[in-house]
């Protein structure tokens, strides 16, 4: 027995020496599922909302069918996705709503992420009421009149106040501060995920019940449940600088793409394609609607869109 133990110990320590002495940088380790079976793989981050799924579905369809790549997707929230992007576990984020802190850290300081240009879609966050409610009570679309409707908009969750429904915790929101600073008789209720929020909105709409919700464009749900924006005090540059003192509307954002720096340099056709990927709000909505409303599989929706709009995507190919 003895000699065997010694041999095992020796082998073990040799292995430890061999592996332990070299540095292993965990920020440069790809997904174990990438590049399996000799294929060229691109890993894209999908955020939880359907617009982001639409971007990825179309990019995936074209990368796989036109350029011969295999595409893996990773579902991650926005801030963790930035981290994964900087580590190369994800090659690209196709739709970002603005993360100044991360941009400073990863693009300017560490230089592990590069900008991939405009997605071509502009996004806007706001407070919305269903159009059937706004038609019946036109003055609800001004924030100063919201308190009048607090009683109508109350639910079991909001207690004695009106309910302002917020969605996923990963989304950019100032709503708690806004309600406080504008001194509104409302309670912010967090749905906790976009899926839960959409389900709730659809249920309200089926009943033609009034509601007030945090929502954003472009979003496919508008086609199904028409909603009207409530006007908040107008946005001015810098009015949202201090998160605790915000008392103005959300800005209009040109959504951005970001690529991992190494991928942007050495990613070949795929990187070039993703840099050129640029479409319009209408295009994105068309695909989103097919996925979320008609329950088509993302790949089928992407194929349907690509077959109908070759003129849009042909120029993206390198």
């Amino acid at each position: 027995m003895r000699p065997r133990v010694t041999a095992a110990l020796a082998a073990g320590s040799a292995l430890l020496l061999l592996t332990g002495c070299g540095a292993a940088d965990m920020t440069r380790q790809a997904s174990p599922f990438a590049h399996a079976g000799g294929t060229r793989t691109v890993t894209l981050s999908v955020q939880s909302w359907v617009g982001a799924q639409a971007n990825v579905a179309v990019a995936r369809h074209l990368l796989e069918n036109e350029l011969g790549y295999r595409v893996d997707t990773v579902q991650a929230d926005e801030v963790p996705a930035w981290d994964a992007l900087s580590q190369g576990r994800v090659d690209a984020i196709l739709e970002d709503w603005g993360h100044p802190e991360q941009e400073r850290r990863y693009i300017d300081d560490k230089k592990t992420i590069t900008r991939g240009g405009d997605l071509g879609v502009t996004g806007h966050i706001g407070w919305y009421v269903p159009t059937y409610f706004a038609d019946a009570h036109p003055d609800v679309t001004d924030w100063e009149n919201l308190d009048k409707y607090a009683g109508t908009l109350r639910t079991a969750e909001s207690g004695g106040k009106g309910q302002l429904m917020d969605g996923s915790p990963s989304y950019v929101t100032n709503d708690k501060a806004l309600v406080k600073n504008l001194d509104l008789d409302y309670e912010v209720v967090f749905a906790g995920s976009e899926a839960a929020q959409i389900t709730q909105i659809e249920q309200f709409a089926k009943e033609r019940k009034p509601f007030l919700t945090y929502w954003y464009t472009p979003q496919w749900l508008f086609e199904k449940v028409p909603m009207t924006e409530v006007e908040l005090p107008p946005y001015e540059e810098g009015c949202d600088a201090d998160p605790a003192k915000v008392a103005c509307a959300y800005p209009v954002t040109a959504l951005q793409k970001y690529l991992n720096a190494d991928f942007a340099r050495g990613g070949g056709d795929a990187a070039e394609f993703l840099k050129r990927f640029r479409w319009s709000t209408e295009d994105q909505n068309e695909v989103s609607l097919m996925i979320a409303e008609r329950k088509m599989r993302p790949e089928d929706a992407a194929r349907a869109w690509a077959d109908a709009h070759p003129g849009t995507w042909k120029p993206w190919l390198p």
Binding site: R28, A36, W82
Partner: protein
Amino acid sequence: MATLTPAAPRPAPLRALRALRAPRGRPVAKLLVLAALAAVLVPLAQARWGAGAWPGALTVDVSAPLGTAGDWIIDNRDSHPLFLYVLGHVSNAIVVSVRAVYLVLLAAGWAGVTAAGALVAWRAAGPRLALGTAAAFLACGLLGMWVPTMQTLALMVVAVLASAVVGALLGLAAGLSDRAERVLRPVLDTMQVLPAFAYLLPVVLVFGIGVPAAVLATVVYAAPPMARLTALGLRGADPEVLEAVTSLGTTARQRLLTARLPLARRELLLGLNQTIMMALSMAVIASVIGAGGLGDRVYQALASVDVGAALAAGIPIVLLAVVLDRVTGAAGERLGAARRPPSRPLLALAAAGALAVALAARLAGRSLWPGAWEVPIAGPVNRAVDWMTAHLYSGVPVVGGTADWAARFTTWVLDPVRDGLLWLPWWSVLLLVAALAWVIGTWRTALTAVLALAAIGVLGVWEPSLDTLSQVLAAVAATLVLGVATGIAAARGDRFERLLRPVLDVFQTMPQFVYLIPVVALFGVGRAPAVAAAVVYALPAVVRITAQGLRQVDPAALEAARSLGATTGQQLRQVQLPLARPALLLAVNQGVVLVLAVVIIGGLVGGGALGYQVVFGLAQGDLATGLVAGAAIVCLGLMLDRVTQPTARRPRKGA
């Protein structure tokens, strides 16, 4: 599934009846001591910090140091030696091994994997389970989930192996050394009761989103049962056999290898079985931190409110879980029956057979599952769900719709409980917990429970924690009412139990996430759907334990009661339920632990409180919020477990 062993000896029937009335552990004396303590301490606390919520003077703000720590890690992850020379290799080893398994699975192709799975099952558990295994793999392919299933399988293989090795080593230490046991036992006990969600953040903090973090979180979650059962097996070895072996002049190591470990193989296999089940239940939750595979599909489908697609990805997980559970379970029973393990030539033959099938499929160019063989189930399922929600949501005559119930439940149950808890002065909550824990358990459990609750206050999350607690209490109450009633029915009718069993199996292995969207569709956004999901998730365990406990009641006691002319109801109330008391207490304990796990996930559907804060922390990379909430969940879990813990420990968590 776990076998329940009430340790109490069985006294003669009449004595048993009387013994039930006798107070256990002198609760009155305990309460008096507590009252005396309170009489001294409460006025002091009241004068110093006042009543109401937890006093601000007693909280410690940890957000600033946590924020700095988070930033330091991100900034130093690619340069600091700790990361380069230690953690980097851990991460690398995981990536390499998951990839190796994944490539082997892909190379084997669907035919090879199915054949190999079936052959292994056949050798381990017989032809029926082999057929089941093959059918399960084919079903994964039919659902169009072949590649994600293989990704999850690769991750599971690595995670389960790592958990088994780590668990076995820890168990070995605890089984052989008393000192190690004293240190490890409370730690393992605690880890068993923690919600999986609480494990995610610390791992993500260090390893970032991705497969390494997912595997590590899974290992931390799944290793404890293996460790506990290994230790249990080693300590439970028959002393006479050991004596005999020692008298043969063996060394300690020989004794371990030739006697103690082989004697403990049943426990070892049971441990492996539980480790696999817990790892699988983590597969979906870990998708939040980038595990990929099936869990990721479930998560993505839920994001677009596509219950059908979520189910299509959830079913393979359930199938994998059921197959693995049955196969390892059957293998354990075979070992227990002292069958010889399969001989080498047969295994070699099996491997050769699998290889041949894989090669044949590969030559035919069909190593990936052919797309034409997929059966879409998402459409019909979604239509069914839509119909259900459309017709049940509201406006149902007389009883009202589910939305009305949810609103009433929130207003009349959840709100009063939460407001009541928040209205109670902080010291009285501590006192209440101490009293409950001491009466049910020992002074040790009471002390742990009180300290855990105090820690929540110190962390500054008193109010959200009590909010979560109110949801847990409401859900546990509902679960117990429903579960015990169903359990009684199941214990009395054999046919009902046979019908119930597969349903319970499926509900227990279904990923918790799949429940979330249907409950939102039925109950709207808020705390009510979180509670509903928790009830559905915890119900099977409670039903099972109750039924098992009632069935194990001494038939002699029942016979005695019957001969005294007791009616069925009287038998149940006065004999069966009291005698099944250990099982019922266990059911309460299990119910609490399982409910807490889902109430936390309920943060995703508007449950708010601690669950929301953890989700927020993960989503925003805000470690201060997430870690504090995670720690509070740990404390809450610890407190709830200790309060409901009868003196004897139980074998496992999932029941």
